[in-house]
């Protein structure tokens, strides 16, 4: 039998009290809430102080040419409260040019590499991140390859290496 996490109504009430009406929805017992980019850090601080002590994942979706999308990038934060087993999905939408959100590393140490990965693959800048370097792509890589306008076969980076022949080795 699928496990449904406990409701997070008290958290939603606290968010509405602090930031006004927020967009939220429930799918199969899991709550999703949209937070604007400007007060995002404040909102995450509130969630952290209300017991969401575990940041499960930070991810991103590129909604380029997506029907009905208002902003291009949708960040996904999966939060969990290990005491009450509550779970919450937080969406933060940002747009070109220079998409940026505040870093949540001061709240959850585990966000460090998660945010580096999102920066690497989507080019979302995390303001205040202590060490915003590429995580999976090589340091000399210049593009953000999971953006929808980046060609699947790349721009020749995979062929841009010196050739070692029998003469060189």
């Amino acid at each position: 039998m699928p496990h449904t996490p406990p409701a997070v109504d008290d958290i939603l009430t606290a968010l509405v009290e602090r930031f006004g009406p927020v967009e939220s929805s429930v799918y199969r017992g899991q709550t999703r809430v949209v937070i604007a980019a400007e007060p995002a850090f404040e909102a995450f601080s509130l969630l952290h102080s209300r017991g969401f002590d575990l940041l499960v994942d930070v991810s991103c979706v590129d909604y380029l040419e997506y029907k009905g999308a208002k902003q291009r990038y949708g960040l996904v934060y999966l939060l969990a409260n290990t005491a009450t087993n509550q779970r919450l999905t937080v969406r933060v939408f940002v747009d070109d040019p220079e998409p940026a959100v505040p870093s949540v590393v001061p709240l959850w140490e585990g966000a460090n590499w998660l945010e580096r990965e999102v920066w690497d693959l989507f080019g979302i800048r995390f303001e205040g991140h202590p060490d915003l370097r590429r995580l999976v792509m090589p340091e000399e890589f210049t593009a953000h390859p999971l953006r929808k306008d980046y060609p699947l076969q790349g721009r020749g980076e995979r062929h841009n290496f010196p050739v070692i022949t029998r003469d060189h080795s």
Binding site: V136, P138, L152, E157, R158, F161, I164
Partner: protein, 208 residues
Amino acid sequence: MAVDNGPKLELPENVFVSKLDELASWCRKNSLWPMPFATACCGIELMATGAAKHDLARFGAEVFRFSPRQCDLMIVAGRVVMKMLPVLQRIWQQMHEPKWCISMGACASTGGVFDTYAVVQGIDRFIPVDMYVPGCPPRPEQLIQAIIDLQDKIQREGTITGREFDTAGRQARKRALVEIASPLSLDASRNPVLQRELAAAAEPAVRS
């Protein structure tokens, strides 16, 4: 009219006459030390090839070493991503002569199904390859066949001085590079920076 070929040398039955080149190649081909550069599922088949059932020891190539300094056969088993390629090239350069390379499986040889920005489309674009093994992944028998074919190649082309690789010529060129005066040289007679530092170290230290 009989031709006099001089005195005939009688050899005992257990003595063979061969060329030194062939003797060296025979020793080399039966004692290949593979460097397993295994990055994906081909690596599992590579391990199976070395394990009891397929027993690569029957062909004298069972001594897998994880240091390139001890190996003479690099087996690239699996896809190589662009972040890994400089590592692959460096390991290849660290291996001692004479050395050979087997590109195992579709990914190492061509990129396979991974036609994306991150995956190198065939390692032979960037390092020399002697044998290609098709398959996704190849069965251990196929890898063994490649090693047998490589042994034939070594026996056919190998020379004791490495003439087939022009080893002597390349060593001479490398040595010429080392003999240039360089701040990176560890030989003080060729390194002006090191000379200055050694002279400074020889003087008695002044404490203030």
